[in-house]
């Protein structure tokens, strides 16, 4: 190979290198924009809880599950995931309002996603999974378990019922449950 050919190859590789750097830069900038400006980030809550006493703890006792408007106005839905059901099977939340989902489980690893949204998290024994989001569309959104958790995994479904803010009327204790349809 002559020196001229060597220079041609080196120039070609340099150009292609610049193209790939530009492509990766565009993607990185888009990811940073989504995180910083649009607040789309991986849920990163690290909070421990004793899985053996989950149903006895103050937060995840049966009476405290479901949607509740806290004293500070924050809307939180607490859900326990077990083999092979969500408790409760349906939570109701308002659209266009910041809400928090808090999940824990007494048994094995589960995972949830809410269809049509970016809500997606693992639910790991010994930890509380927490996701902040704002639902933009109303309707019944499917929330399946997306981590194989046993023979009944495929039956493990829940519903997130997103209603317009005008139809979200919690009771005097701040709680609200899905009405039977």
């Amino acid at each position: 190979m002559t020196d001229a050919s060597e220079r041609d190859v080196a120039r070609s590789e340099l150009r292609w290198g610049l193209i790939t750097i530009a492509a990766v830069s565009v993607i990185m900038l888009a990811v940073i924009y989504a995180g910083v400006v649009m607040h789309i980030n991986p849920p990163s809550n690290v909070e421990r809880i004793d899985p053996k006493g989950l149903h006895l703890s103050a937060e995840f006792t049966e009476a405290n599950l479901g949607t509740k408007v806290e004293a500070n106005g924050q809307i939180t839905a607490r859900i326990v995931t077990t083999q092979f059901a969500f408790v409760p099977r349906c939570v109701i939340l308002p659209a266009d309002t910041p809400v928090t989902l808090r999940l824990s489980r007494p048994d094995v690893i589960h995972g949830i996603l809410v269809s049509g949204t970016n809500v997606n998290t693992m639910v790991v024994p010994g930890f509380v999974s927490q996701v902040h989001t704002t639902f933009r569309k109303t309707g019944d959104l499917l929330m399946p378990c997306h981590e194989f958790c046993g023979l009944g995994h495929s039956e493990m479904l829940a519903t997130v019922r997103v209603v317009p803010k005008s139809e979200f009327h919690p009771g005097p204790d701040g709680r609200i449950a899905c009405a039977a349809k």
Binding site: M1, T2, A4, S5, D8, V9, S12, R15, W16, I19, T20, A23, V26, I27, A30, A34, M38, H39, I40, N41, P42, P43, S44, G116, T117, N118, V119, N120, V131, H132, T133, T134, F135, R136
Partner: protein, 54 residues
């Protein structure tokens, strides 16, 4: 011009080396370009509309 065993002159080899990267870049540019376009389309029309999460 001396001939190699493959019957190509040095000039022909040099010309091939000079022209080949053009086709390789066209193919690589097309495939990588399509990949980037698909990524951006999903980012703009699926990922961002699905709303904030964290």
């Amino acid at each position: 011009m001396p001939q190699d065993d493959d019957g190509l002159s040095q000039d022909q080899v040099e010309r091939a080396l000079h022209e080949t990267p053009g086709g390789a870049f066209a193919l690589a540019g097309l495939t990588v370009g399509l990949l980037i376009v698909a990524w951006v389309a999903i980012y703009l029309f699926v990922f961002l509309p699905r709303g904030p999460v964290g």
